[in-house]
C-alpha cells in the first residue's frame, strides 16, 4: 500500500498509510513516541497512556489513534514529557519495584523509561501494596508486585498462542493479572515457549532459571536508552 497520508509530528512531515496508527507511522519515520503497554504485532491495549500525544490540540493515545490526513501531532513537548514522567512515577509507587534484585533489571522497559526520563526517584509517596507471587508452574512464574497491567500477556496468549491463559480480574486498585484455571498458574496450559512468555515489559511474567544470565553492562538498556533503536533507524 502506498504512503498516501501526510501529517506532522512536532513540525516534521511524516508519511503514513491508511489504517495505520500514529505510533506505527512515527516508528517507520524514526520518531520515538514513548510507550509502555504497546508492543508491535499485538492488539494495542491503550491502557498506560505513556504514548499520549496532542492531536490537533487534544490528548490521544498514539498507539490506538489512527492517522488522518493533515493532523498536527505534538510529541516531544515539555507538557507531554511532564505528563509521561508523572505516569512513570505513579507506576513505580503503585507497585513494589525492587530493581536491586529483580531478574529483569537492565532489560525492563519501565526501568528503562525512567532512565530515559532521567528520574532519580519518583515524586509520589510509595504505596507498598500487598501483592502475591504465583510460582506454582514448573517453568514460569508471575510476580504481581511488578505487574503494570499492560495487557500484553493477555493479548499474546489469546491472539497469538490461542490459549487465553491470562485475563484481568478485579477493578481499580484491586485489578490484577489472573490465570485461566481453577487455582494457580501451574494449572493452566501456559508454557515457557508461548509468545505470552516473551512480551512482559517488566519482571512480572517470567521464565524460571534464566535470571541474571546476562552480566551487568551487557543488558539491553545498560548503555542505550529505550527508544534509541527507533530514533537511529533511517528515516523513510
Amino acid at each position: 500500500m502506498s504512503d498516501n497520508i501526510t501529517f506532522t509530528i512536532d513540525g516534521v512531515e511524516v508519511k503514513a498509510r491508511h489504517g495505520e496508527t500514529i505510533i506505527e507511522a512515527a516508528d517507520r519515520a524514526g520518531i520515538y513516541i514513548p510507550r509502555l503497554c504497546y508492543m508491535k504485532d499485538l492488539i494495542p491495549h491503550g491502557s498506560c497512556r505513556v504514548c499520549t500525544v496532542m492531536v490537533n490540540g487534544r490528548p490521544q493515545a498514539a498507539c490506538t489513534q489512527p492517522v488522518v490526513q493533515g493532523i498536527v501531532v505534538e510529541n516531544n513537548t515539555p507538557a507531554m514529557q511532564k505528563h509521561r514522567r508523572n505516569l512513570i512515577d505513579m507506576l513505580f509507587v503503585e507497585g513494589n519495584h525492587f530493581c536491586m534484585f529483580c531478574e529483569k533489571s537492565g532489560n525492563c522497559e519501565l526501568q528503562a523509561m525512567a532512565y530515559r526520563f532521567g528520574i532519580p526517584a519518583p515524586k509520589y509517596p510509595y504505596m507498598f501494596p500487598d501483592k502475591d507471587i504465583d510460582a506454582s508452574h514448573p517453568d514460569i512464574f508471575i510476580d504481581r508486585n511488578r505487574c503494570i497491567l499492560c495487557g500484553r500477556c493477555v493479548s499474546a496468549s489469546r491472539d497469538v498462542d490461542g490459549k487465553t491463559a491470562f485475563e484481568f480480574a478485579g477493578r481499580g486498585p484491586h485489578k490484577k493479572i489472573a490465570v485461566n484455571a481453577e487455582a494457580n498458574l501451574g494449572d493452566t496450559n501456559a508454557e515457557a515457549s508461548d509468545k505470552a512468555m516473551s512480551v512482559c515489559p517488566v519482571g512480572a511474567l517470567m521464565k524460571k532459571r534464566i535470571g541474571f544470565a546476562v552480566p551487568i553492562g551487557s543488558r539491553k538498556y545498560d548503555t542505550k536508552p529505550i527508544g534509541s533503536e527507533i530514533e537511529s533507524s533511517t528515516r523513510k
Partner: protein, 181 residues
C-alpha cells in the same frame, strides 16, 4: 577559608553505599583537599561540630532512632542527599512493609528454623529504638534535595554529585550513571 563540611550516615542500610563512597579510590585524596568530614562513620565523629554543606544519607527509616538522626541531618546540612535505593525507596528493608510488624518479630525471634531462644524472649530493652510500622524512604520523613539511585550508586555517581554540588553546579547525571540496581 575553612573547607566545607560533609557529613554522612547509614540508617536502615547495609553500609554498601559507604563502601561505594570509599570506592572513589584515589579521588578520596582530592576529596579531603576539598572538604572536611564532620559526623560520619568515615572518621567516626559521633556528633555534629557545626553546620555542614552536604549531608549524605544511606538507608531509609526503620526505627525511631533513624528518624531522629535524619532530622538532625536535615537541621545541620544545607544540602541533603538521599544516597542509594534504601534511602530513596526503602530498599530491601522495605520488603517487610507488607508484613505486620508482629509477624516480622515473631519470625526473627520465635518461628524461623534457625532460632535458638529457649526462654522465648523478644528483645524489649528501653535502650533499643522502637521499630516503625513500616520502612520509610527519607523523602517521606524530611525534605531531601537530591537523590542518587542505585544499590549502591556507583562511585562515579557519588563523585560527580559531590563535585557538582560543592562547585554550585547543577547535578546533571548522564544516562549511564542513573541506575536502580
Amino acid at each position: 577559608m575553612d573547607k566545607p563540611k560533609v557529613a554522612t550516615t547509614s540508617l536502615a542500610g547495609c553500609f554498601g553505599c559507604h563502601m561505594s563512597i570509599l570506592d572513589i579510590d584515589d579521588r578520596i585524596l582530592k576529596l579531603i583537599e576539598l572538604v572536611d568530614f564532620d559526623k560520619s562513620p568515615v572518621d567516626d565523629i559521633k556528633n555534629f561540630t557545626g553546620q555542614c554543606a552536604i549531608g549524605i544519607i544511606e538507608g531509609g527509616c526503620c526505627n525511631e532512632e533513624n528518624v531522629h538522626v535524619l532530622q538532625e541531618f536535615r537541621k545541620h546540612c544545607n544540602i541533603l542527599i538521599a544516597c542509594g535505593d534504601c534511602a530513596t525507596m526503602g530498599g530491601i528493608p522495605a520488603m517487610r512493609n507488607n508484613i505486620p510488624l508482629k509477624e516480622c518479630i515473631d519470625e526473627a525471634y520465635k518461628n524461623s528454623p534457625s532460632v535458638y531462644n529457649p526462654k522465648n524472649i523478644t528483645p524489649n530493652d528501653k535502650e533499643l529504638p522502637l521499630l516503625l510500622n513500616k520502612v520509610y524512604p527519607c523523602q517521606e520523613v524530611v525534605k531531601i534535595d537530591y537523590f542518587l539511585p542505585g544499590c549502591p550508586p556507583s562511585a562515579d555517581t557519588i563523585w560527580q554529585a559531590l563535585v557538582a554540588l560543592l562547585n554550585n553546579k547543577p547535578l546533571d547525571l548522564p544516562y549511564k550513571l542513573i541506575k536502580y540496581d
